[in-house]
Amino acid sequence: MNAKFADYATPDILVDTDWLLANLDTPGIRIIESNEDLLLYDVSHIPGAVHIDWRRDLNDQTTRDYVGPEGFAEICRRHGITPDTTVIFYGDKSNWWACYAFWVFQLFGHTKAKVLDGGRDKWEEEGKTLTRTVPTYPASDYPVPALRDDAAHRAYFQQTLAHYQAGKKLVDVRSPKEYSGETTHMPEYPQEGVLRGGHIPGAKSCPWARAANADKTFKTRAELDALYGGELGLKTDDDIIAYCRIGERSSHTWFVLKYLLGYIHVRNYDGSWTEWGNMVRTPIERTA
């Protein structure tokens, strides 16, 4: 195991690029690419990897919500995933969407899941093999999960409102200008329909990127402890909600807090700023 991983609260939640290269053909694993770039998987991907599109596959196509248990089982069946398959997520943008897909898998209790440290960027940077060949796997008979367990991992608007009113911990992982209210979207992205800028009152700013190195890998346990435990003052048993704009960057932070640092009660508010900033008469704090 990569020596860095041993210090994390859940050391085996990550794999590194060398391990993955050596285990491309290992039975019982399924590599899953999940990206922001809509066509990147089609351009190339890690050999054997399947593609899960966060919009088309994980989101309900009508209601702003995720697929239900039937839909989740269908995704797994299509990719030959069984409850015993270890799924390994990776993707572009420092694993934003890989962590998001990982998080959705946790809603359905698929705990045999890992993330590739450094994601697609590191794999490419190291010149490791990529292919355009789309693999096919025999369909599985993945059983329909009994429920989607949102309560453990996901916060809704009303819960987040109550959380703020109770003075509990909120971590805003967006860029500083989004937090201050100067902008309503991150740098390099078009405006995406939020009517008010700012942050949830009381939320502390800690942009997701502070948890990542330049090569897109996660920072060490000591660095992450200093950031979230030290600077933000979070404690292991705090009730914590992370949010961003639509829930993908906060999935990254949720992953860090829960699996790398071992915080017990962490939820991702996926409605995030596109919900909060558009909701009539919702309290907002601005510093811009």
Partner: protein
Amino acid sequence: MSYPTALTDIIELFEFLPESERRENLINYSDAAAACVRKEGDTFDLEDVRKDEECSDTVGVYLNIDAEGKAHFAVELGPKVQTLTKAMTAILCRGLDGSTPEEIMAVPADFVPRIIGAELVRLRSQTVYYVLSRMKAAVKMWLNQRRAAE
């Protein structure tokens, strides 16, 4: 509004393709973006190289207006540019080549969904309009310079 002939041909190629073939063709065009760069010895009337908030990397647009008043573009993309942006770059370099500046300025953006498809023109895909806006901006700058010189 009619589109330049070359662009019309591309729109008609894409418009009724099944999703899988549309994606495959977009990937082919994205591969072709590498050939849109400046060639040795090329000269340009206008060069506009910048990194905008709307795009994830630097985009350089190079415009040449030939003796017959026809526009020719070269476009250079930074490595972080998304695949759809690369595809639109190759489509537009081919589709607008040989048009007049006035024709380019009159091209509406409504052809983009006909090429990309409704599936891909969704949240976060406004990037597909970016290169067209940059090419039009270059043409507009050239027109303004010409007007100022007259």
